[in-house]
């Protein structure tokens, strides 16, 4: 018990310490249930799980930036002179410029915009990796084709309907066999990335996942529905059963009352609240292995303005929410490791258009964050350059790193799944040192 108390005192966040599952179980093993109860957090009042678990596999937070995120605003190649020549009204000023809107240098070539200032601590701690001039081989400039093939994880195969993360889950044993829910999409509908995953549901708001109606009959009604949907076809059948079991799970966790660790403050936005819910579920340690969260607003055809306008606000929300997740989950003690990634279907034209925006392009950035991510740098595979002669189709940043290389390395090294030819069919990934 002294360990518990010591940790408790050391940490600024009493809520968090109390719920570390290994400590909880250690306490239980010591035989003092009363003492254990004293460390049961208020927002996690009833969870008592029989199965012990010490996994080396990370929980995966997968973020999709929908709309085609402009990598040249998210990670600014300020030392490439063609950047400023191409972006006369929507460039982020060099880090050595004057004024509050200047970039924040990541090295002698790339900078974050001020909107991503909240990600600097993770970058400085070498826990945040930015991969630049990345994307997919599929050169579609259609949002929907490009998103689809990126989420599926194999370009140009319309017969493949499952997503890469769904297939990862389908090809690895559950971290906890009794877990009713292995993965969730913070969405009203299941994102393509997760399709195919067992015990995987879209749950738009995990804080409010209940059947409703009379408490006296709720169990009988859930039993009715379980039996009724046992005759349904897949995927309805499994989803309904998972839903009834997840009702029981989430009833135990008071997500609304969750208090982030380390003073982290999630923005009160759709994305911020989604990450906060994911954090609560991860710390509840109930066997969640993956969460898919979408963030929109990246389709900046007009009035892009990364310094104060729409792109600024979208990036600010993105950076603040992921920054809070970093402080809350990755910097604090957590029952399991966590890796986060963020991708987008394509980047945008290097040259701005006549509406102070940018049209659909190709290469962009992706992010990976975690204690075992080899971060603190911008990974490039030789910067292809922004001079017109070096652009894809004369207009776009080239794709020099297939996003699947990064994901596959994480799937293998952090999610403990060696079935890479199943997760990314037909792709032989190059291990690029994204993990450590």
């Amino acid at each position: 018990m002294s360990d518990l108390e010591t940790t408790h005192d050391d940490c600024g966040c009493e809520e968090y310490n109390a719920l570390s599952r290994r400590q909880f179980l250690a306490g239980a093993a010591g035989g003092s249930m009363a003492a254990v109860a004293a460390y049961h957090p208020a927002w996690l009042p009833k969870v008592v799980l029989a199965e012990t678990y010490a996994s080396s596999r990370d929980v995966m937070l997968s973020v999709f930036m929908r709309g085609g995120a402009d990598g040249l605003s998210l990670c600014v190649p300020f030392a490439d002179p063609d950047y400023y020549l191409s972006r006369s009204t929507i460039a982020v000023p060099r880090p050595d410029a004057t004024g509050a809107t200047k970039g924040i240098a990541l090295d002698n070539f790339f900078a974050f915009p001020q909107a991503l200032a909240a990600l600097i601590p993770a970058f400085t701690a070498s826990d945040l990796l930015v991969v630049h001039a990345t994307g997919q081989l599929n050169n579609s400039r259609s949002h929907f084709d490009a998103q689809r093939y990126m989420e599926v994880g194999k370009p140009n195969d319309p017969a493949l309907v499952t997503g890469w993360l769904g297939r990862h889950l389908a090809s690895s044993p559950p971290v906890r066999s009794t877990a009713p829910l292995r993965a969730l999409g913070l969405s009203a509908g299941l994102q393509k990335t997760l399709v195919g995953g067992p015990k995987t549901l879209p749950i738009a708001n995990p804080a409010n996942f209940a059947l409703g109606g009379s408490a006296a009959t709720v169990d009988a009604r859930l039993a009715f529905l379980q039996a009724d949907y046992a005759a349904a076809t897949p995927p309805m059948q499994a989803n309904a059963l998972d839903a009834t079991n997840t009702v029981a799970l989430l009833k135990q966790i008071n997500i609304s009352a969750y208090k982030p660790a380390n003073g982290a403050v999630y923005p009160n936005t759709g994305f911020g609240n989604a990450l906060k819910s994911v954090a609560a579920l991860i710390k509840a340690d109930v066997g969640i292995e993956a969460a898919q969260v979408d963030v929109g607003g990246w389709d900046t055809h007009s009035a892009q303005d990364p310094l104060a306008g729409s792109m600024y606000r979208t990036m600010l929300d993105f950076g603040n929410a992921l920054g809070a997740f970093y402080a809350d989950v990755l910097q604090g003690p957590t029952p399991s490791g966590v890796t986060a990634v963020a991708v987008s279907e394509f980047g945008r034209n290097v040259r701005e258009n006549g509406s102070n925006g940018t049209d659909h392009g190709r290469g962009t950035v992706m992010f990976a964050m975690g204690k075992h991510i080899a971060g603190g740098r911008v990974m490039v595979n030789s910067w292809p350059g922004l001079a017109k002669a070096n652009l894809d189709s004369g207009q776009d940043l080239k794709v020099t790193i297939d996003y699947r290389d990064i994901l596959a390395e994480i799937v293998k090294n952090r999610l403990g799944n060696t079935n890479l030819d199943f997760v990314f069919p037909g792709w032989s990934p190059t291990m690029r040192g994204a993990t450590r």
């Binding site: 009988a220 529905l225 989803n239």
Partner: protein, 532 residues
């Protein structure tokens, strides 16, 4: 790489990649095949059923229960079964009714059976002859802003407009007698998706003057109306596009989403060229279409092999003809008929229509020059319907169908409109121009919110939606109540297994209003009510 950058450019951190190599498809013949639609969720479904449902399965489930895979053997191929309708769904006419309405009611089934298959379809197609005065009066009284011209609407509160538009749409979907028309309004609202969040009051104008005006008319008129809709131009940045600085957004989506389809045979260069053709198409005033010759690109352009010769700004308003010519090229392109046919077949008949079906409906498009009614007639024939797999109701469809079956007294749908958010499909706020998905794998996991909604609806006993439980208590026995639910909720074709389980649930408690409402909620929640 530019020389200026090269001195500072970061070194490659990895060995040169095989990035440009074409991916090798290694899957055929290998031990593990990527999961396709046929094996979708097989692993998870089997595992879940085996692990979590000991004893919960009734006898009916065994016919669909796949064998559990061997441990760790994720390669197990378990066919994803096509959701076949219950044997009780035996009537051609009710089969048609399920496809062309927002849901069955006892009254509608009786009406359809009186008209017969062809008569009922024709009656729904000739919607202007179907009396809808009750709904019209309700809408005119409750949602007066929706009748305003754009230049008056612009001055109204945006939130009020959005509420009136959404509530009107839900009200008409649930209670209009012109049910096929409402199904087509929903179809085109996705095909020509516009998010209210980006365009505000103009969406209400588009809904009235584009979508509803042409929902069962001619696709050519519909496309032209959409192309000249201020809402669409604002939504896809067309109003920002000008000579020397074209914006490709609308030019891309009119080809990809509105006409040819993504594989319809256009290139990125066609997108760029069409965006030049359409420069000058913009918005005037508070929401009128206008062609502005001063910002039109008068140089020569070539789209889909059709060259438009250079013109001059002196040609003035005549420059609009370039865009109109190209829209006609799109309308006449063989890919367009096929793409609209595919989407219509998916909407009414099957997620995976056959090529023969697509060709047949596309032929009607060509023959009639885009007559929407003719395409629907070709899509909804009894032979195809008999073998069509069930389709999953999307959340909006689900809510509307439950409202129809509940047959409530309605004085407003503000609360029910709020429920659309809970079930995952609030109206007119899908951000991207592809519209709300219509795929089983997208919506199938979102099942709990439907059950919660079923509870909420069945419990309505006061306020703007009132379900008179006496209607369901006729006969005053459990069996009579189940018969009423069968007629109202399942069109008289409730499947035997559900009849047995609902009856058992109702009889397991005291026969009273509360228990009947719970039973009604379970009927709305049951698997077979989610499909059509």
């Amino acid at each position: 790489m530019s020389t200026a950058a090269s001195s500072q450019a970061p070194e490659s951190c990895v060995t040169p990649a095989s990035i440009t190599a074409e991916p090798v498809d290694e899957s055929p013949g290998r031990g593990r095949e990527p999961t396709t639609r046929r094996t979708l969720l097989a692993f998870g479904a089997a595992a879940t059923a085996a692990v979590l449902l000991p004893g919960a399965a009734s006898a009916q489930s065994t016919r669909r229960r796949p064998a559990p895979p061997k441990k760790g053997d994720f390669n197990s191929i378990i066919p994803n079964e096509v959701p076949v309708a219950p044997v009780e769904w035996a009537s051609d006419t009710t089969r048609l009714l399920r496809r062309i309405t927002m849901g069955t009611t006892d009254v509608e089934v009786a009406l359809a059976k009186r008209y017969g298959f062809r008569g009922y379809l024709e009656r729904q197609l000739q919607f202007q002859y179907v009396d809808d005065s009750v709904a019209d009066t309700f809408v005119a009284t409750k949602y007066p802003l929706l009748a305003m011209p754009a230049d008056q609407l612009f001055a109204q509160n945006s939130g009020t407009i959005q509420n009136q538009l959404s509530q009107m749409t839900l009200y008409r979907a649930a209670f209009s007698s012109r049910q096929l028309y409402e199904r087509m309004v929903e179809f085109w609202s996705d095909h020509f998706n516009i998010s209210f969040n980006k365009v505000g009051y103009l969406k209400a104008v588009d809904d009235r003057d584009v979508i509803r005006k042409h929902a069962l008319g001619n696709f050519r008129d519909l496309l032209f109306a959409s192309a000249k809709s201020a809402a669409m131009m604002l939504y896809l940045d067309q109003n920002q596009s000008r000579a020397g600085a074209p914006n490709e957004n609308y030019a891309r989506e009119i080809m990809e989403l509105h006409t040819l389809g993504v594989d319809g045979g256009y290139s990125q260069n066609d997108v760029a060229e069409l965006s030049r053709v359409l420069t000058g198409w913009t918005i005037a005033g508070r929401g009128n279409f206008s062609f502005n010759p001063a910002i039109h690109d008068w140089k020569a352009k070539t789209v889909l092999g059709v060259t438009i010769p250079a013109g001059a700004v002196a040609m003035g308003a005549a420059g609009i003809q370039e865009g109109e010519q190209m829209i006609n090229v799109l309308l006449d392109h063989p890919s367009t008929g096929k793409f609209i046919a595919l989407k219509m077949l998916r909407w009414f008949l099957s997620y995976d229509p056959t090529q023969a079906q697509i060709d047949a409906v596309a032929a009607e498009y060509t023959r009639t020059q885009g007559d929407i009614k003719a395409m629907i007639r070709a899509t909804l024939n009894s032979a195809w319907l008999r073998t069509a797999p069930m389709k999953l109701k999307r959340p909006f469809h689900y809510v509307a169908s439950a409202l129809r079956s509940a047959h409530p007294t309605v004085t407003g749908v503000a609360g029910m409109n709020g429920q659309l958010n809970n079930v995952g499909q609030p109206l007119f706020v899908w951000e991207t121009p592809d519209g709300y998905p219509d795929k089983v794998e997208y919506w199938a996991g979102n099942i709990l919110p439907r059950w919660t909604f079923g509870n909420t609806l069945a419990a309505q006993s006061a306020g703007e939606i009132i379900i008179d439980i006496a209607l369901f208590q006729k006969g005053n026995t459990a069996d009579a109540t189940i018969a009423t639910i069968d007629a109202r909720v399942f069109g008289g074709e409730m499947d035997a297994a559900l009849r047995a389980s609902l009856t058992a649930y109702l009889k397991a408690g005291t026969y009273n209003a509360a228990r009947i409402r719970e039973t009604l909620a379970l009927a709305f929640s049951a698997n077979s009510f989610q499909w059509y």
